[in-house]
């Protein structure tokens, strides 16, 4: 018994050192991702590549850190909720989701720009009598609120002198929106490139932003919860490194076709996805740097969202961005001059 008591301080010290070591790294890193439009647990683009080849799992396997990927059918707004309630450490979301989350007081940092130029498509039911964008006035439009498509729609409406209050917005996810459009539940929907109801000849494509970059999305971002980044800065940097590797792969023209093939897993149409990015420069699209242009775009989104009642209060954009991780990783990978600044 006395021997045990003598050993107690040593055991305590050992235990403390193990605890200290354990706090250097998490046992699991949790990511909130936007599943594709139909809720399948796949993504396209750089993240599709990262997931397909298990790059995150490989990066952290040697540390015994597990990777948890949650795909939310509720899109970006659900990712914000998951981070707010401490269920996710990282979130990969679209531009409006970032602004909405930060305006709501979400304690996150935007540490990587991750793919902009996403298009918004306006599909209409022929029975609605809508022939032009101005005809949308007073009509019921299905859209997944709080997403980049919601912002795209508001900007398109703004372009023809309409406000959100001039139409009736109905909150619907992609699958429900398609059903509602087909059954006359709504007059129009705003969506991503997927348009199965149009492909089946039931609805018509009224407008899309492929030729209107001013209405395309700004770069979405990789968000990290402030507490995680503060506690595990090195781990955060390694996560950024994996994501940048994915963006480097996706930025190369020779991988365009491979990206489209990977995107098939999400359930999206090959043709529509191909047409969607046909005119886009992949290197520009997947630029991971938080440039002055990105910051300016977010300032514009914040002002637009406030003016259009999407957010209720402004926030300081300086508290959003943290370039330190991406700058360090780009230097480490020798890619600091690969993308345009």
């Amino acid at each position: 018994m006395k021997h045990w008591i003598k050993l107690l301080p040593i055991v305590s010290l050992l235990f403390m050192s193990v605890s200290a070591q354990a706090s250097d790294k998490p046992s699991v890193i949790r990511f909130g991702l936007v599943g594709n439009a139909y809720g399948k647990p796949y993504t396209s683009g750089p993240l599709g590549y990262v997931n397909e080849y298990g790059l995150l799992e490989k990066e952290f396997a040697k540390d015994g850190i597990k990777i948890e990927l949650s795909y939310f059918t509720g899109a970006g707004p659900a990712v914000n909720e998951a981070i707010a309630s401490g269920l996710d450490d990282f979130g990969s979301v679209g531009d409006l989701v970032v602004v909405v989350g930060k305006s709501g007081g979400l304690k996150v940092k935007y540490i990587l720009a991750s793919g902009g130029g996403s298009n918004t498509y306006i599909q209409v039911n022929p029975a609605s009598g809508i022939k032009t964008l101005k005809d949308l006035k007073g009509k019921r439009i299905g859209v997944n609120k709080g997403t980049y498509i919601h912002l795209g729609l508001d900007r398109i409406l703004d372009g023809v002198g309409l406000k959100e209050k001039d139409v009736k917005l109905v909150n619907l996810n992609a699958g429900d929106a398609n059903n509602a459009l087909a059954t006359n539940g709504v007059d129009a929907i705003a969506s991503s490139a997927d348009r199965p109801v149009v492909d089946q000849g039931i609805a018509k494509l009224l407008y899309d932003t492929r030729k209107a970059p001013q209405y395309q999305s700004s770069p979405g971002g990789l968000l990290v919860s402030e507490s995680f980044a503060k506690k595990y800065p090195e781990i955060t940097k390694r996560v950024v490194k994996v994501f940048i590797k994915g963006q480097y792969w996706a930025s190369q023209e020779q991988n365009r076709e491979k990206q489209l093939i990977l995107g098939l897993k999400t359930g999206s149409s090959y043709k529509n996805s191909k047409d969607d990015i046909a005119d886009q420069d992949l290197k520009k699209k997947y630029n991971p740097q938080i440039t002055a242009s990105v910051e300016k775009k977010y300032l514009e989104i914040e002002d637009f969202a406030l003016a259009h009642g999407i957010i209720r209060r402004k926030f300081n954009l300086d508290t959003l961005f943290d370039k330190s991780y991406s700058e360090a990783v780009l230097k480490e990978l020798g890619l600091q001059n690969y993308w345009e600044k």
Binding site: G104, V170, V186
Partner: protein
């Protein structure tokens, strides 16, 4: 003396009713102070007060309450009327009761939200679908309470009606309905209460106005304070509705005290 005592008890009851909400508020604030939940998810009470004022002064809250009330009243009138008619028919006719009861009982086992996909396929996501959803909620309590009241009309009343040589319609209006009234009124109260609960569910999907819509909107745009204000307003309106119906029920049935000496 007795009056004073009664007053004292009434006051005590009112004070007791305040204790639980106060405890909930204290627990709410303690949970926030201990950082057990993020303030972004469990919004501080004072923030909710300012959000409530903001929504009320902008007119958003009133518009959404009115949109929900309109759906509740329509759905209640449709579902409640159907429930009432079927309740009378099955209550009066043992044959119809035997025929319809198994089907009604089987359909009652289907959870309300399980109807949603079928309702959407049949009626789309328009106003009609929402009214049907509310009507389903209103239907069952009205049906069962009406049935209970009508089938429970004492035999002596039936004999009396036979003595007075009442025709079918007079028997229904002068004997059956008045006798079943307490049960029918309970049915109306429960039916309206459930309609109010179901309207929120109906509006969570594909609405462009209403309290359920307001809450979904708040959730999508990460404005959880709006979601919580919505919850509180729904609870408060439900409570007011129930209290008003209880008062009406007491007034309408005051004759029972004089009639058979029983208080309600």
């Amino acid at each position: 003396m007795i009056k004073n005592l009664l007053h004292r008890f009434a006051l005590r009851d009112k004070l007791l009713a305040l204790i639980v909400p106060l405890l909930v508020l204290t627990l709410w604030q303690s949970v926030l102070s201990l950082h057990l939940f993020s303030e972004l998810i469990l919004i501080p009470p004072l923030t909710l007060v300012s959000t409530f004022i903001e929504l009320a002064s902008s007119g958003d809250l009133t518009n959404n309450i009115l949109a929900s009330l309109q759906r509740v009243i329509t759905g209640f009138l449709v579902g409640g009327s159907l429930g009432f008619i079927l309740g009378v028919v099955t209550g009066l006719s043992p044959f119809m009761n035997r025929v319809l009861k198994p089907l009604i009982k089987a359909l009652q086992q289907v959870p309300e939200f399980a109807w949603m996909p079928l309702i959407i396929l049949l009626f789309g996501i328009d106003e009609l679908a929402k009214v049907v959803f509310v009507a389903i909620g209103a239907f069952y309590p009205m049906l069962f309470n009406t049935y209970q009241g009508v089938s429970g009309v004492p035999k002596k009343y039936q004999e009396l009606a036979w003595v007075f040589d009442y025709r079918r319609f007079s028997y229904l209006t002068k004997v059956v309905i008045p006798s079943a009234l307490p049960s029918i009124i309970t049915g109306i109260r429960l039916s309206l209460g459930l309609s109010w609960m179901f309207v929120v569910g109906a509006e969570l999907f594909g609405a462009d106005a209403g309290l359920g819509y307001m809450m979904t909107w708040g959730r999508q745009l990460f404005q959880i304070d709006i979601v919580m204000v919505g919850l509180i307003v729904i609870g408060a309106i439900g409570l007011v509705m129930n209290s008003l119906l209880l008062i009406i029920e007491k007034r309408l049935l005051s004759w029972r005290i004089a009639f058979d000496g029983r208080t309600l």
